[in-house]
């Protein structure tokens, strides 16, 4: 187990370095430059050039790259070119809001998606199956920003149950929950749509396995078969896919954050991309890569938890 962990961590580190390198160079060869965002459009070329020199953007790319790596290593992530605030501080301030939203909607997605998927597999080609499948298709085909506005119109404007602006930092638990509700439902339903699909097909597969047929032949009740034999085996593909779709979730969370006006990493990265705020972009990428590498690791470990037969070697 320890050896497995060390090996995984080693590979994770290589992945991490590779991503940072690729990202650094991709960001720098993007057209556009932060000088316009800083000086505005009334500055002349000389002033822009002087600013680039002051920011060290006229240095050879490789020198800037080494400087960046050194910064990451010693924990000096620099300051935002646009606001002058420390990158790490800005990221850490909005990160809780993003994590909160991601995990709650993932949870919501699983709580809805797994039972519906399993049920729909058991009732395969019956009415319930078709209803569950059509509902999940709705979730898959409506863009997140459209559903977000629909939720706002219904629950914030018509019913007035929730605020339009989800500040993501209420002081009490109730306030936080109230802020979180609509964005989490919006993302959670999309997640549920994915998870329903995956659970259904995973369950169908398990239902066809020999041991399930054996169990049926033995005369065990259907409910017991499902609970005892099927659920656990259904979980492995579900966990894999949930890990796989986390990227999509974070991508969608950008749109959800914008429409519900929640603070979050997605908004931060899009803003800094638009303004070519290099230090901020790089910091974001470091964080994102860390999260994903960590999630992959956790996904692997979860297999063992679900199915003790899986050995780490």
């Amino acid at each position: 187990m320890t050896a497995f962990l060390l090996k995984r961590l080693g590979f994770a580190f290589i992945t991490f370095l590779a991503v940072l390198t690729i990202v650094f160079f991709i960001i720098r060869i993007l057209p556009g430059d932060p000088a316009y965002a800083i000086l505005g459009d009334q500055a002349n070329e000389q002033a822009l050039q002087a600013l680039r020199a002051r920011l060290g953007l006229d240095q050879p790319l490789f020198v800037q790259y080494l400087e960046f790596l050194r910064g990451v290593a010693v924990g000096d992530w620099g300051v935002s070119l646009v606001s002058g605030r420390p990158v790490l501080q800005d990221i850490l301030e909005v990160m809780p809001a993003t994590l909160e939203l991601t995990f709650v909607s993932l949870f919501l997605g699983a709580v809805i998606g797994i039972p519906v998927g399993v049920w729909s597999a058991v009732r395969r080609n019956k009415l319930t199956d078709y209803i569950a499948r059509s509902a999940s298709l709705l979730g898959l085909s409506l863009p997140a920003f459209v559903t977000a506005v629909l939720l706002l119109l219904v629950f914030s404007i018509q019913l007035r149950w929730f605020p339009v602006i989800s500040s993501g930092q209420g002081a009490t638990f109730g306030e936080r929950l109230r802020d979180l509700a609509l964005p989490a439902i919006n993302l959670g339903l999309i997640m549920a749509a994915y998870i329903t699909r995956v659970s259904r097909s995973a369950m169908l597969e398990v239902l066809n396995q020999d041991y399930v047929r054996t169990a049926k032949a033995k005369g065990l009740s259907f409910a017991i078969i499902i609970r005892r034999h099927c659920l656990r085996n259904t979980m492995i593909p579900v966990v894999t896919v949930v890990g796989l779709y986390l990227g999509i979730l974070i991508g969608n969370s950008v749109l959800t954050e914008i429409v519900f006006n929640r603070p979050g990493l997605g908004k931060l990265i899009i803003g800094s991309l638009y303004q070519r705020d290099y230090p901020m972009l790089q910091g974001m990428m470091v964080i994102y890569t860390m999260i994903v590498v960590l999630v992959n690791l956790i996904t692997d470990l979860t297999y063992g938890f679900i199915d003790p037969r899986i050995k780490y070697s």
């Binding site: 590979f11 290589i14 992945t15 590779a18 991503v19 690729i22 991709i26 960001i27 060869i29 993007l30 057209p31 556009g32 395969r124 499948r133 059509s134 298709l137 709705l138 898959l140 085909s141 409506l142 863009p143 997140a144 920003f145 459209v146 506005v149 699909r197 097909s201 169908l204 597969e205 066809n208 396995q209 492995i236 894999t240 796989l244 990227g247 999509i248 974070i250 991508g251 969608n252 950008v254 749109l255 997605g266 990265i269 899009i270 991309l273 994102y288 890569t289 994903v292 590498v293 992959n296």
Partner: protein, 301 residues
């Protein structure tokens, strides 16, 4: 079909053709096993047909603006209303289908071919190579699809081809993963072992025996991701990266509609429904196929 090998090298042609034929047969069998796949295919092909016939059946020129007649609700004259520029929404949806379906098909085609080739190779070869390749896939996965797409389109410039490339890149890792798992499972099954004992080459085994076995699986995945691809196009358009105007795309239309969602909600609704129909067709197709695929094909990992 679009299951394709990454490169044709002389000498492998025979395996290759045999592989394609065997894959096709496997897919058709899967189709016949569940009739809803045919319904799904029919729905999808109907959309494709509408797209192809757009120049003939669209009631108006999709680019012609009529500023005095803008933001009209659905009426006898304009069945789906008019947009911010007074353009006919129905005509734009029909014409937009051409671009959106092209972007979807092209991107998923690329992702399917490249991704499954990578997965097939990685799973078949195994060992260190496998680890390195799959880690690289994780690197790609490390980027939220939307943000990866955003960076690529910002770098290459927004054109139909670049959008397809950007969306393809985001979808390659899932295909690699989905192709790799069954490859590993199939690799150890009797008929492959037998082939190896008979002295068949690796290429022959990979393309001749393993690919046909995993083809339906990949196709299922492809049909499902096609839906995602079309939706990613909409999301990219929302954050400002799409095909240059005035070319209509469903994603672009939803984005434009979103600007006026509080005044004229149907502008975002109708293209969303178009996406829904395609997604429905593809999912029926995919689900039907999936249900028909021998579940034992995918053994334990």
């Amino acid at each position: 079909m679009s299951v394709d090998a990454p490169a044709r090298k002389p000498g492998y042609g025979a395996y290759f053709r045999a592989s394609i034929a065997a894959s096709l047969i496997a897919v058709i069998k899967a189709f016949n096993a569940n009739k809803t796949s045919w319904v799904g295919l029919g729905l999808f092909l109907a959309m494709v047909l509408l797209a192809v016939l757009a120049p003939v059946i669209a009631p108006y020129d999709p680019l012609e603006q009529n500023i005095l007649d803008r933001l009209q609700p659905p009426s006898a004259e304009h069945w789906l209303g008019t947009d911010f520029f007074g353009r006919d929404t129905l005509s734009r949806i029909l014409w937009g289908a051409r671009i959106s379906l092209t972007i979807g098909l092209a991107s998923i085609g690329i992702a399917m071919v490249v991704g499954s080739a990578i997965g097939l190779f990685s799973g078949y070869v195994g060992g260190r190579v496998d680890i390195v390749i799959m880690q690289t896939m994780d690197v790609l996965l490390a980027f939220p699809a939307l943000i990866l797409g955003l960076i690529i389109v910002a770098m290459l410039g927004p054109s139909i081809a670049n959008l397809a490339i950007a969306i393809a890149l985001t979808a390659i890792p899932p295909f690699a993963r989905i192709a790799r798992a069954p490859t590993i499972a199939v690799k150890n099954r009797e008929f492959v072992e037998a082939g190896r004992a008979l002295g068949y080459s690796d290429k022959r085994l990979m393309f001749g025996h393993i690919l046909p076995n995993i083809a339906p699986e990949i196709l299922v995945m492809g049909s499902l991701w096609l839906a995602t691809a079309i939706r990613v196009e909409a999301s990219l358009a929302f954050i400002g990266l799409g095909v240059s105007p005035p070319t209509p795309t469903w994603g672009g239309m939803i984005r434009e509609g979103f600007e006026n969602i509080l005044d004229s909600f149907w502008l975002a609704l109708f293209p969303s429904i178009a996406i829904l129909i395609v997604v429905l067709g593809l999912n029926l197709l995919g689900d039907g196929l999936r249900d028909a695929v021998d579940p034992r094909l995918k053994g334990e990992e």
